[in-house]
């Protein structure tokens, strides 16, 4: 589903919408089994040259396994992996134009930070002066200039992670695989490094495949995100699409927080539908593939639900009454949990645009929730 209003973040870079574009990395019905257990299950994925692609999924869903197959440490049980049109089966890791940053860092304990970063460059036979310059550049990138002469066991966890990052980036491979590259960094350093990675990827024209647990990180950096679950792809889309137009309840629930209303499609016209749920009739302008009479879910993000102590003026708005059940004040926003009269609990996020509201709602107050017909999506899966 490509919404016109939900473009990729990088304007004009949308090879996935171009039927003539050739995929650079192609997982073609790849399955990887460990014994009877399928860590990756009949998975197909295409990634384009110069794309910043993120894999997002719960722990154990097969993200690292996918990267390890591309790097050459595991062979697929079945299916093919193509890189620039070439089938990678049987190609040893050292012949693949791919570098990987390991989730466990895998730093060489007997070498200094400098030597670790230089290792791959030396392997390529780069002249010593060029190596020194590249190492210095990498140390600057990860802000470890003073630590060049230390051994890995003399570094903190976050510093080790940065060395691992620098070592994998140093060779400037065509494809860089990053397995949780920033997980051990504090928030500020993580955000800075995210932007520097994006710049680096842009400047050098590399293709990045990044695994992350952190949705914000995926949203910030990636051109497209693949949501994985139990070794299968649930959805591949740009960050705005993933957020605003999730394809299934799993994706809607996995990325950000969401309110789901179950109901029956009572009317289905071109471009609109009416869904009757308990205590609430929803009019929607995004009917998706809802069919008359079917039971579906309507997903809407908390920040798109307005909260007030009065019924909405617009009679056509989707609205329901309830009681404030719980309040979480987070500084920039306040999250209200409203228990509707139907018994369902709905989340509403209110931006604290003023230091004090003139209409403070508090625990136990009666309140109305309301949302626009085009604010949510209908999910049939």
């Amino acid at each position: 589903m490509a919404l016109q209003s939900l473009n990729s973040i990088r304007r004009g870079f949308e090879p996935w919408n171009d039927p003539a574009a050739r995929p650079y990395i192609h997982f073609d019905r790849v399955t990887k089994k460990f014994g009877d257990f399928a860590a990756v299950n009949d998975l197909s994925l295409t990634i384009f040259e110069r794309e910043f692609f993120a894999l997002l999924g719960a722990s154990g869903c097969g993200k690292s396994t996918l990267l390890r197959m591309l790097a050459g440490f595991e062979e697929p049980t079945s299916g093919r992996i193509l890189l620039d049109g070439q089938d990678l089966r049987g190609v040893p890791p050292y012949r693949r134009p791919v570098n990987m940053m390991f989730q466990s860092y895998a730093l060489f304990p007997h070498m200094t930070v400098e030597k670790n970063i230089a290792f791959g460059l030396k392997q390529d036979g780069m002249p010593a002066a060029d190596i020194a310059a590249r190492v210095a550049e990498m140390l600057r990138l990860v802000k470890l200039e003073e630590f060049a002469k230390r051994k890995p066991h003399q570094l903190s966890g976050g510093q080790r992670q940065r060395v691992a990052l620098a070592r994998s980036v140093a060779k400037r491979p065509k494809v860089l695989l990053l397995d949780e590259p920033l997980g051990a960094l504090d928030k500020k350093l993580r955000e800075e490094t995210q932007f520097e990675l994006m710049d680096l990827q842009q400047d050098l024209g590399l293709t990045f495949l990044v695994v992350t647990h952190d949705q914000e990180e995926a949203m910030t950096m990636a051109d497209r995100i693949a949501i994985l679950d139990k070794g299968e792809v649930m959805q591949v889309a740009t960050p705005p699409e993933i957020y605003e137009a999730p394809g299934s309840r799993f994706v809607a629930d996995f990325v950000g927080s969401v309110n789901l209303f179950q109901g029956q499609v009572t009317r289905r016209d071109a471009g609109r539908a009416e869904i009757a749920g308990p205590g609430l009739v929803i009019h929607t302008a995004n009917p998706g593939d809802a069919e008359q009479g079917k039971t579906v879910h309507y997903a809407i993000r908390p920040e798109k639900i307005r909260l007030s102590s009065f019924p909405p003026e617009n009679a056509r708005a989707n609205a329901a009454q309830g009681e404030i059940y719980d309040i979480a004040y987070l500084g920039d926003v306040t999250i209200y949990n409203v228990k509707l009269d139907s018994g369902q609990i709905v989340k509403s996020t209110v931006i604290n645009s003023q230091r004090s509201a003139d209409d403070p709602l508090t625990w136990g107050d009666r309140a109305w929730i309301a949302f626009q017909p085009d604010s949510g999506v209908v999910l049939t899966r």
Binding site: N99, F108, H110, Q123, D124, H153, K171
Partner: protein, 321 residues
């Protein structure tokens, strides 16, 4: 709740019967005791006997029981005592080329055996360390299994294998590989075989310990950065196993230099190793002072490798963090 207490202040709690300071002393004492016991052991059973050996090495041989002149005994003046010291035994060691040759031969034989044991032991240790983890205890067990039989009996068994009409020659002749029996018994080859066989576990165990704790993803990372399997081995695995190599080599080299049983049983009468020389001086010639001097020099020779071993151990511990 814990109440923060400044260091040095003791706040007795009510379920304590003894005052805090006496518990402190007891604890300090018992923690010292743990270190003290092995040190006392070493003092009583190593340092004191060694001091006696050193003392004997400075005396003269006589026909008596014990067969040496008293040194540093009685309550004479220090000068008198020192005058009784004799360096004759040490001088004697330099005058007869026999001793020098025996030391050199022992060191060379021990060194060659150590290298051979490393060449055999490294692949073995590597194989065990890379085996499925369920299989490893069994494989290690097999490495240690020979220790269940007496060392002497195992060396004797090699005579049965290596002698001209022994199992090895019978087998090789039966399959037609040779028609004359190989003369291995009573050669240096037999000594090498004996030492490598006997000391192999001492090589394999420290190597295994070093290789087993190595993270396999390091090899993957090296391959990812452009190494072939073999260059990844030489650049990563081998340097990381160096503490294990040093420890294993020293554990083989140090006892092999003074080895007596193997050269005596497998090497025949003409082998000139320092352990045999020592035995001859002591039992055949009954020259306690000279054999003590031989033993003291042997120990001095081994101090260097022992120190190298100690350092390797310390480094391995540091790296293990």
């Amino acid at each position: 709740m814990t109440i923060p207490v400044a260091p040095g202040t003791d706040i007795p709690t009510k379920n304590e019967s003894r005052p805090v300071w006496s518990r402190g002393i007891l604890r300090a004492l018992s923690s010292r005791l743990v270190i003290l016991v092995p040190y006392l052991w070493l003092l009583a059973f190593f340092l004191v006997p060694f001091a006696i050996v050193v003392k004997i090495s400075f005396s003269q041989t006589t026909l008596a029981i014990p067969p040496y002149t008293p040194v540093l005994e009685g309550v004479g003046s220090l000068w008198q005592n020192l005058r009784e010291f004799s360096f004759d035994n040490y001088l004697w060691l330099t005058q007869d080329a026999l001793y020098f040759n025996a030391y050199v031969t022992s060191v060379v034989i021990a060194a060659v055996s150590t290298v051979l044991a490393l060449l055999v032991g490294y692949p073995l240790a590597y194989g065990v360390a890379r085996a499925p983890s369920a299989l490893r205890p069994l494989l290690l067990m097999l490495v240690i299994l020979p220790f269940w039989t007496s060392f002497l009996i195992r060396v004797y068994a090699w005579i049965g294998i290596l002698k001209p009409e022994g199992l090895l020659n019978q087998f090789l002749m039966a399959i037609g590989l040779i028609d004359q029996p190989l003369l291995i018994m009573n050669t240096y080859t037999a000594i090498f075989i004996g030492i490598v066989y006997s000391y192999l576990p001492f090589m394999v165990l420290p190597l295994y310990a070093a290789l087993e704790k190595m993270d396999y993803s390091l090899i993957e990372a090296a391959q990812d950065l452009g190494c072939t399997r073999s260059s990844a081995f030489w650049k990563i695995t081998f340097p990381l196993s160096r503490p294990g190599i040093i420890a294993g080599c020293m554990l083989v080299f140090i006892p092999a230099v003074g080895e007596f049983v193997i050269p005596d049983l497998l090497g025949g009468s003409q082998t000139l190793m320092i352990g045999k020389t020592l035995w001859n001086e002591f039992f055949a010639n009954r020259d306690w002072p000279v054999s003590s001097a031989v033993a003291v020099i042997l120990l001095l020779l081994l101090v260097v490798p022992i120190m190298i071993f100690q350092q390797a151990q310390a480094r391995q511990q540091e790296q293990g963090r």
